[in-house]
């Protein structure tokens, strides 16, 4: 049974009729890694934000359901929803430089959820924070716990954020382009770390990225989005062998391969984009009708 079950989720730009997500349905199994790919503006981050309840004010959910373990988050009262998300889900954010509070020490930023939301005693939460920092291969965890964010490098901060995400043993992690803001040299280590942690903890992972190369290596399934509409949802193996949707094929052809870095890249053909736009328009027509 899937842990995260999204059905027919539509999000509009507040005050308009314009849909940002157009009836998205999505399932992520209990220990599955699901890649969420698409161009910028396709709505891939928006899905993760909707699940975690952190959509910007300008976006509004108008229909659909988001179920965690069979409980629809959207029908829960705000307080219970917050607590459920805090207990069962976690975010690995995009930019490690801005995702830590500059005025607070690292230790409390990892352990605060354990104490305040999960009700652990302080000493146990502190021990857990030290243990989890050790797990993400941070040397001298007890020193890092006492540090402020500005005393750590970008890669270290992302490790801290990964540790913080896994500290409460969540069942689902949303990673929102977690390596985009990092140096290329650090990116690989961080990716490896995320999947090492995912495998060890058996967490469901929703991995938002525009990098199909990464998806091919680490995800079991993937969902391709265009204009807030699901184009294709497939097993990764099958997708990279024989993508069924024309847009997926075009996207794949536009992705550089490190096995053959000098090969020519094909931009997504106009015809394919036109077809994808048509699909979006049809979906809107059905929705407004």
């Amino acid at each position: 049974m899937s842990f995260l079950k999204i059905r027919d989720l539509s999000v509009i730009l507040r005050g308009t009729n314009h849909r940002l997500l157009r009836g998205v349905s999505l399932d992520v199994g209990a220990t599955e890694v699901m890649g969420l790919v698409g161009e910028s503006g396709a709505g891939k981050s928006m899905i993760g934000k909707a699940v975690l309840g952190i959509l910007p004010r300008s976006a509004k959910i108008v229909s659909g359901s988001i179920e965690l373990e069979g409980v629809d988050l959207l029908t829960l009262p705000p307080r219970q929803r917050r607590h459920m998300i805090g207990q069962k889900a976690a975010l690995i954010p995009q930019d490690p430089l801005t995702a830590l509070n500059p005025a607070r020490r690292i230790g409390p930023q990892i352990s605060d959820r354990l104490v305040d939301i999960l009700g652990w005693v302080r000493a146990r939460a502190r021990a857990r924070a030290e243990e989890i920092l050790h797990d993400v291969h941070i040397p001298q965890p007890e020193r890092v716990l006492r540090s402020y964010p500005h005393e750590l490098s970008g890669g270290m901060r992302q490790r801290v954020l990964i540790a913080s995400a896994f500290a409460a043993e969540p069942r689902l992690i949303v990673a929102d382009e977690p390596t985009t803001a990092l140096d290329v040299t650090v990116q690989k280590q961080i990716l490896k770390l995320i999947f090492e942690m995912q495998a060890r903890h058996g967490t469901a992972l929703l991995f938002v990225t525009h990098d199909l190369g990464v998806v091919s290596k680490i995800c079991q399934r993937l969902t391709v989005l265009y204009g807030g509409l699901v184009m294709e949802e497939a097993e990764v193996g099958a997708f990279f062998d024989t993508p069924t949707h024309p847009y997926s094929r075009a996207l794949l052809a536009a992705t550089p391969r490190h096995t053959d870095p000098t090969a020519d890249l094909t931009p997504v053909p106009e015809a394919v984009i036109a077809e994808a736009r048509r699909a979006v328009a049809e979906a809107d027509q059905r929705w407004h009708a």
């Binding site: 975690l52 309840g53 952190i54 004010r57 307080r79 917050r82 607590h83 998300i85 805090g86 207990q87 889900a89 976690a90 975010l91 954010p93 995009q94 930019d95 801005t98 995702a99 830590l100 509070n101 500059p102 005025a103 607070r104 605060d112 959820r113 305040d116 939301i117 402020y148 500005h150 954020l161």
Partner: protein
């Protein structure tokens, strides 16, 4: 490292004070108005005037007078008040606590009021309440403190006389304390009747001083809180399960306070300056009231002493703000 910073700070302070001393000394001697002429009865002879001028050293050149005075100041002798014939230092120090207590009380009220406005406005942002708060804030800001003083006198002294609006303490309660920090000492000595009387006297002038400052704090703090609420670490805290209130207080407030703190430092010095008029308005026996009397009577040594003390106070406030800033901002602590 810290010692060197502190020393350079002390050096700057001394230079500032010297500059202030020069300016005050020159200005009050250049503007018309002769203290000696005001002391003597009409019909005094030229010889009388000359004798009195010589007595106070006013017959010498201004630079000469200045260095004689400065020589005294360095040794802790600020001269003798012309009108009261008492040492300036003693006079000034006897009034300083009254003004300090008033200023600090006003500051506390301003921070509490302004903080409350900012937090409420942030919590209820994008609602009508925020709009209403903004309007009230704008009004509080555009009316100067002495007008607020008049409004308060009218409201709570005349129309609905619940507060005493004149003086510092009721005459029958004037205490024989070791210091002039009556408000503070009355708590230490558990004289709560006196404490209540003092607060009743101070509340209105303090409020008049506090209202414009509260409005500035409210406006700036709300603005920086709202900006902070969009930052990634605040969003991350939301996913952890924290409520809006917790997010504001735990994540945003401490970072949003920093820009406000600098402003409070600057504004607090203005507030201390504002006590001059407010004390007059409420007949509050503080330094400001004394300053106005000194100016009216052309009591040159007293004016110099008061202004120098005010200048010292301003630099101390700025120093305190800088230190507090370093404590609250971990990024500055090692710099």
């Amino acid at each position: 490292m810290i010692l060197r910073r502190l020393l350079s700070r002390v050096a700057t302070t001394l230079v500032t004070l010297f500059g202030v001393a020069v300016i005050v000394f020159a200005v009050i001697r250049i503007v018309p108005g002769d203290p000696v002429a005001m002391m003597l009865p009409p019909g005094a002879t030229e010889a009388d005037i000359a004798r009195l001028q010589a007595f106070y050293g006013l017959d010498k050149s201004i630079p000469e007078q200045f260095f004689i005075w400065l020589g005294g100041v360095v040794q802790g002798d600020f001269g003798t008040s012309i009108t009261t014939r008492q040492p300036v230092l003693g006079l000034v120090l006897s009034r300083l606590p009254a003004t300090l207590e008033l200023s600090v009380m006003a500051l506390v009220i301003a921070v509490a009021l302004g903080g409350l406005v900012a937090l409420t406005g942030t919590r209820l942002r994008y609602t009508r309440t925020e709009g209403a708060l903004d309007v009230a804030n704008g009004m509080a800001l555009s009316v100067p403190d002495f007008l607020w003083g008049l409004v308060l006198i009218l409201l709570f002294g005349v129309l609905w006389p619940v507060f005493t609006i004149s003086g510092r303490v009721s005459p029958q309660l004037v205490p024989e304390f070791a210091t002039s920090f009556f408000l503070f000492e009355s708590v230490v000595r558990l004289r709560f009747d006196l404490w209540l009387d003092l607060v009743q006297h101070m509340l209105m002038p303090a409020l008049a001083l506090a209202i414009p400052l509260a409005a500035i704090i409210g406006q700036l703090l709300k603005q920086s809180l709202k900006e902070t609420m969009h930052l990634d670490y605040v969003t991350l805290a939301r996913t952890k399960g924290y409520s809006e209130n917790q997010v504001i207080l735990r994540e945003a407030l401490r970072n949003a306070v920093l820009p406000t703190l600098t402003l409070i430092g600057v504004q607090f010095t203005f507030l201390i300056g504002g006590t001059v008029i407010i004390e007059r308005l409420f007949s509050y026996e503080g330094l400001g009231n004394m300053a106005i009397d000194a100016v009216i009577n052309r009591d040159l040594p007293l004016i110099q002493g008061i202004v120098l003390l005010f200048a010292l106070l301003f630099t101390l406030v700025n120093l305190a703000v800088d230190l507090l800033y370093a404590v609250l901002n971990p990024r500055l602590r090692h710099a």
